[in-house]
Amino acid sequence: MALIDTINPLLTTGWAKGDAGWSLKDYEARGGYAQLKRILSSKMSQDDLIAEVKKSVLRGRGGAGFPTGLKWSFMPKAAPEKYVVCNTDEGEPGTFKDRDLLRFDPHSTIEGMIIAGYAVGAKRGYNYIHGEIFEIYQRFEEALDQARAAGYLGNNILGSDFSFDLFAHHGWGAYICGEETGLLESIEGKKGQPRFKPPFPANFGLYGKPTTINNTETFAAIPFILGMGGEAYLNLGKPNNGGTKLFSVSGHVNRPGNYEVPMGTPFAKLLEMAGGMRGGRKLKAVIPGGSSAPVLPADVVMECTMDYDSIAKAGSMLGSGAVIVMDETVCMVKALERLSYFYFEESCGQCTPCREGSGWLYRVVHRIEHGEGRPEDLDLLNRVTDNMMGKTICALADAAAFPVRSFIKHFKSEFEYHIEHKKCLVDPDVQRAGSGFFSASATAGTV
């Protein structure tokens, strides 16, 4: 889906022509690769480059929000072999921004990765692309060929003494590979099971070498930050929440899609940009940062601004910027059941609390949804999450627990109603109508 609306577009300036504006000549025409040229011709020092990124307060766009400049500065200077890795394994339910970034403007990510390679002293990079988006992987490969042919990749880039090459690695369907060390294992040709940390990738990364891993949107922002200056970028957003951010809005809105807005934009404004609530129905709840983020009830989220600090204060996470909008036709028990199934299905199985706990959570939510819930089940669910959170190698166990705890916390009466009455508070016909599937086409058959 092409971009619909923006405020102060930056990352999405190249999206205007949709699928017709992605190639190298289009990117160069809008100022692309100018920052790489400037860095190489002025022989900018690595420290100055990292300082500029730090000034922007760019925080990792993949979900954790870790300051990018700081991450880069952790890379050991002396190591002879280092890597830059981009995480485009975008499988967090609700998130679909990186797909469009690579679809409409792959070269901004490529330029950002080359610049990162220069900053941390890496000669080789990989972009790990989500398995389900093969067409995007193909486009990225084509963009890499263009960049290589133009001398932006390879030995002695643009006649300088800096060499860097970049390759695409295609995933094949495993949510856990979005976890950075699971992703590294996957590039190494193994099961994508996360590694125990420390050591962190900056010391022990791909093939055991120092590695910087950032999200696609983070890399894509780099050329723009260097173009306008770190401070100007910071000032686009809020203090400690620099710049603009892509928000993927899905669910019960009139115009689902990606929206680029400055950090700190009110949620109400984002909702309005997405065309408001579908069918004019009432907002019930929003998951503001991808399925792993705690859900927020309508009245809470309507008071939030879209930045790391405001969403955290409200008790959730900005995460990857995936905004899942739910209206009054949604049964919260059913919604949680589907999310819990997802974490059960995608748990890699190496840590017992997650492997066993994610399945346990799903089975209990499933029985509540199917009229077999017991009065003690809500306490049981919370207790199981207590024994999962913070007790595993990676954050998938926490990601499975957050929805369970927050759904029960904010919508407890719905769960209790299910358990007591063995049916849903929301009428099944109302739920069925909510998706719009059956009303979408008058000529289509019926189920």
């Binding site: 889906m1 975008e90 499988g91 967090e92 339910p93 609700g94 998130t95 679909f96 990186d98 797909r99 080789r124 989500h130 398995g131 389900e132 988006i133 093969f134 067409e135 390759f167 695409a168 690695h169 295609h170 995933g171 094949w172 369907g173 495993a174 996957s186 590039i187 190494e188 040709g189 193994k190 099961k191 994508g192 093939y207 809005v249 899905s250 669910g251 019960h252 689902p256 899609g257 399925s291 995936a322 899942i324 909008v325 739910m326 949604v330 919604a335 589907r338 999310l339 299905e345 890699c348 069925r432 998706s435 719009g436 599937f437 059956f438 979408a440 086409s441 289509a444 058959g445 189920v447």
Partner: protein
């Protein structure tokens, strides 16, 4: 002399070589994911012998390749129909009809998830997030082609296209 990977076509081996070249010379195993996809493209699915052939070509233990093939969702370790349809039913898609789209396909084809039609034409799978929630309902055809906004009319059209 017969190599174990003789069962793969020279075209497939050439494609695998191109993937191997992306990685450091001592890290051939990095190409195993791509190599398994290439083998699956050629054979339709991954029999144990096919996985072993890939492992042999890359100089890795067969079990290591099998671990990869069984870990990632889109490798088919059993035969599938000519067209494998995967429908995302995760929450963001479900809010815009993902589950209903799957129900619709089930009814049209007369099969449930993980079943294949009697004529061997269609296999239906339930998918997890494909990273395209704004385009819901979303379906994948044979792992590589993504179809967006799959409302009843579009599903009818897609099924008719699959000859």
């Amino acid at each position: 002399m017969n190599n174990q990977y003789d069962m793969l076509s020279s075209e497939s081996l050439r494609r695998i070589d191109r993937e191997v070249a992306k990685y450091p010379a001592d890290q051939k195993q990095s190409a195993v994911m791509a190599a398994l996809v290439i083998a699956q493209d050629e054979k339709g699915w991954l029999a144990k012998e096919t996985i072993a052939a890939v492992a042999s070509y890359l100089g890795m233990a067969p079990i290591a390749a099998y671990e990869v093939a069984s870990f990632y969702n889109m490798y088919d370790l059993n035969p599938v129909g000519k067209y494998k349809l995967t429908v995302c039913t995760n929450l963001p898609c479900a809010l815009s009809g993902g589950v209903h789209a799957a129900d619709y396909v089930k009814q049209k084809l007369g099969i449930d998830f993980n079943e294949t039609t009697a004529d061997g034409k269609f296999t239906l799978k339930e998918g997890e997030c494909m990273g395209a929630c704004g385009d819901a309902p979303v379906m994948l055809v044979n792992n590589k082609r993504m179809c967006s906004f799959m409302l009843p009319e579009q599903i009818d059209k897609l099924l008719a296209e699959c000859k």
